[in-house]
Amino acid sequence: MAFSAALRDAAKATAIAFGLFVVMVGLRTDVSPTGALFLRTRWTELAMVCALVFAGRLAIGLWVTPRFLTNAGGSLAAPLAKAGAFFGMGLLVVAVVLPAIPGIGRYELDLAILVLTYVMLGWGLNIVVGLAGLLDLGYVAFYAVGAYSYALLAQYFGLSFWVCLPLAGILAAFWGILLGFPVLRLRGDYLAIVTLAFGEIIRIVLLNWVDLTGGPNGISGIPRPTFFGLPFNMSGDPGTFAGFFGLEPSPTHRVVFLYYLILCLALLTNWVTIRIRRQPIGRAWEALREDEVACRALGINVTNTKLTAFALGAMFGGFAGAFFATRQAFISPESFTFIESAIILAIVVLGGLGSQVGVAVAAIVMIGGFELFRDLDEWRMLVFGAAMVIIMVLRPRGLVGSRTPTVALGQKRSIGSDYVSEGRG
C-alpha cells in the first residue's frame, strides 16, 4: 500500500479508536468513600491507546497486506494435515513420557493435567459438533453432571472412584438422552439456545439446591482416587501406594497417577471416536452433518442417530467431570459456567471440526497459552478473547479443516474443507 493511503487509513482507525475509548478509557467512574460516584480522567492513557492503534494500523497497512495474512493461514494447513499422523504420534510419545522428562515438576504436571482435561472435553464435544454437526452450547452441563455424580455418590453412599467413574458417564449420557430426545429435532440455532439454557438450568439448580449440593459452597472432601485400592498418602504404610511398592512416599506420586489417569481417559475418548467414525454409526453422523434430508431418504433414523452422538459426547463429558471432582477434591457450581462451554466449543472449532489432532493442538495452545500469560493478571482474559477472534478471522475452518475419509478402495486422500459441510443442526 502506498504510504499516503496507509497514513490516511491509520488516521481513520485512530479517529474511530478515539471514539471508542474516549469514554471507556479516557474517563473512569469510581466509588468514593462516601459511596457516591466520581469521575477520573485518564487522558494520557487515552492518548497512548490511540497512538498504539495508529502505529499498529500503519504497520499493517505498510507491511502486511491482508492477502499475506490469509496465506499465512493457508500455507499452514497442508503440512499440518499431511504430517497429522506423525505429529499425532509425536504428541502421544511426549505425553506418555512427560512425567519422566527432567525439569517437569509438579507445576508442569498440574498444567498438563488441566490441558488433558480440556483435550478430553474437546474430543467429547467433537463427536457432537464436529462429527454430527449439532451445535451444543451447554456441554459443560454434562461435565457438571459427571462431577456432581461422583461427589454425591461418594458422599452419600461412600462409593469409590472406580465404581463412580462409569456411573458418572452413564448418568451424563442419560441426561444427554433426556435433553436430546425432545430438542434434537430443532434446527441449528434453536438447538444452540436450548442447550445453552440447559447448561444454565443445571448450574442454577446446583447453586440453589443447597440441601443436596451445598449450593454455592460446593462439595468438599471428595475422596481422592486410589491406585486400585491403594491410597496415596505420606504415611508409608504397606496399605498405601508408596508402602506397597516400597517407594519413598512423595506427593508427586498422586500427581503422576492423576496425570496418567486423565491421559488414559482422553486416549479412550480418542480411541472410541476414531473407531466409531469408521463404523456405520459414525459415518451416519457425518452424513447427517452433510445432509439430513438425504439421510432420511436412505433409511437412517435421524433422531436416534443424533441421540447416540449426543449421549456419547455427554458420556465422555461425564467421565471428565468425575475426574475433575476427584482431582480437585472440591467442586462448586462456579466451575461449570457458560464460559467453560464456550472455551470447549472454541477448542473444537479452532482445532478444526472433526479433527482429533487439531482439537488436541487447539487445547494445548489455548489452555497452555492461557497459563503462559498468567502474569498478565486481569489482562489475561482480554488477550484470550482477542486470540479467539484473531485465530478465527485468519483460519475460519480451524487448524485442520480437511477431512480424512473413513474407508477407501485405493489410498485415503484427505478432503479439502471446501467440500466438507459443518451441519445445520
Binding site: 472410541v272 473407531r275 466409531i276 463404523q279 456405520p280 454409526i281 459415518r283 451416519a284 457425518e286 452424513a287 452433510e290 445432509d291 434430508v293 438425504a294 439421510c295 432420511r296 431418504a297 436412505l298 433409511g299 437412517i300 433414523n301 435421524v302 447416540t308 477431512r403 475419509p405 473413513t406 474407508v407 477407501a408 478402495l409 485405493g410 489410498q411 485415503k412 486422500r413 478432503i415 479439502g416 471446501d418 467440500y419 466438507v420 459441510s421
Partner: protein
C-alpha cells in the same frame, strides 16, 4: 407381464396434498406396474415433485393412500410411515437438486446407503467397537456392492474422491447408485436428466434400462418411477406414462398413446405459450 397375477409395485389412490390454499395434488390415482419404468410428466409446477414427496414420506399427504407391494409380496401402507421407514420398506429416491454428501467420498456415499444392514451387523455400534468379527465380513460385502455400482456407473476410478468434486453428470449417476445401494423395490428419480448433455442423457437412459432389467449389477430388477422433462428419454425408455397438470391427472397410458393425447398436447402447448 400379466398384471392379474403380479400385483402392481406401487399404487397411489386419490392422493391429495394441500399447502394452505394451494391444492398442489388433487385426487391423483395411478399404479406403477412391477418391472416397468413409469414416467410421471407434466409442466413445471404440475405437482410431480410433491407426489414424490408424499410417496417417500417427506410430506404427509392431506388425503389418499399409497401402497407398496415389495419384492417379497409384502404390502406396506406408505402414507402412515415415517420417511426413514419408507426408505427401509423399499422405496429409494433421488432429488431434483442433487443431495449427495459432498464432503464424503463416492464410496462413503454408497456405504451410507447401506447403513441399515451394516449397522445391524455391528450390533448397533457396540459389537464392532469391541472388535466382534461379523462386522468385517459385512463391511467387505458392502464395499463390494458399492464397487459394483461404481463400476456400473463408470466411476470406479473416482471412488476415493469427494462427491462434491465430481462433474455434474457424474453426481447425478452417483446419486442414483446411492439410491440403488439401499436395495429398493422401487426407485424414484426426480428429473435425473436435468442439466445433462445429450451423450450423458444417453448413458443415463441405458443405465435406467439396465436397472429395470437387473443387468446393471447383481441387484434384482427394480421398478422405476421417473419424473422427467426430457421427452426424448421419456418416450424412449418408459413403459407407462402418467401426466399431471395443475395437480390433476390428465392422462395415462403407453408412451405412443400419450404423444397423441390432445389433453397432453394442450397442457404442454399451454406451457409453451406462457414461456
Amino acid at each position: 407381464m400379466s398384471t392379474t397375477l403380479v400385483p402392481d409395485i406401487l399404487s397411489v389412490e386419490e392422493l391429495t396434498m394441500r399447502f394452505g390454499g394451494l391444492l398442489a395434488v388433487d385426487r391423483v390415482s395411478f399404479e406403477v406396474p412391477r418391472g416397468t419404468i413409469t414416467a410421471l410428466i407434466g409442466p413445471n409446477g404440475a405437482g410431480k415433485t410433491t407426489v414424490f414427496n408424499c410417496i417417500t414420506g417427506f410430506y404427509r399427504p392431506t388425503g389418499g393412500a399409497v401402497r407398496l407391494t415389495t419384492h417379497e409380496g409384502r404390502e406396506v401402507i406408505l402414507n402412515t410411515l415415517k420417511d426413514h421407514n419408507i426408505a427401509r420398506a423399499g422405496v429409494a429416491r433421488t432429488f431434483q437438486n442433487i443431495r449427495l454428501f459432498a464432503g464424503m467420498t463416492a464410496l462413503e456415499n454408497l456405504l451410507i446407503a447401506q447403513h441399515g444392514p451394516l449397522h445391524r451387523a455391528t450390533g448397533f455400534g457396540i459389537g464392532a467397537l469391541l472388535g466382534i468379527s461379523g462386522y468385517k465380513a459385512a463391511e467387505a460385502a458392502a464395499i463390494e456392492r458399492a464397487a459394483e455400482w461404481l463400476r456400473a456407473i463408470g466411476l470406479i476410478a473416482r471412488a476415493d474422491d469427494p462427491a462434491g468434486s465430481l462433474p455434474y453428470g457424474d453426481q447425478r449417476r452417483l446419486e442414483i447408485a446411492r439410491a440403488m445401494c439401499t436395495g429398493p423395490s422401487l426407485l424414484c428419480l426426480d428429473e435425473p436428466a436435468a442439466g445433462l448433455n445429450p451423450r450423458e442423457s444417453d448413458d443415463l437412459a441405458r443405465l435406467l434400462l439396465s436397472i429395470r432389467d437387473g443387468t446393471a449389477t447383481s441387484a434384482a430388477p427394480t421398478s422405476i418411477l421417473l419424473i422427467e422433462h426430457d421427452m426424448g428419454i421419456v418416450m424412449r425408455i418408459s413403459d407407462h406414462v402418467v401426466v399431471l397438470d395443475h395437480g390433476k391427472k390428465i392422462a395415462e397410458g403407453p408412451p405412443a398413446a400419450i404423444r397423441q393425447d390432445p389433453h397432453v398436447i394442450a397442457a404442454y402447448l399451454g406451457e409453451a405459450e406462457q414461456e
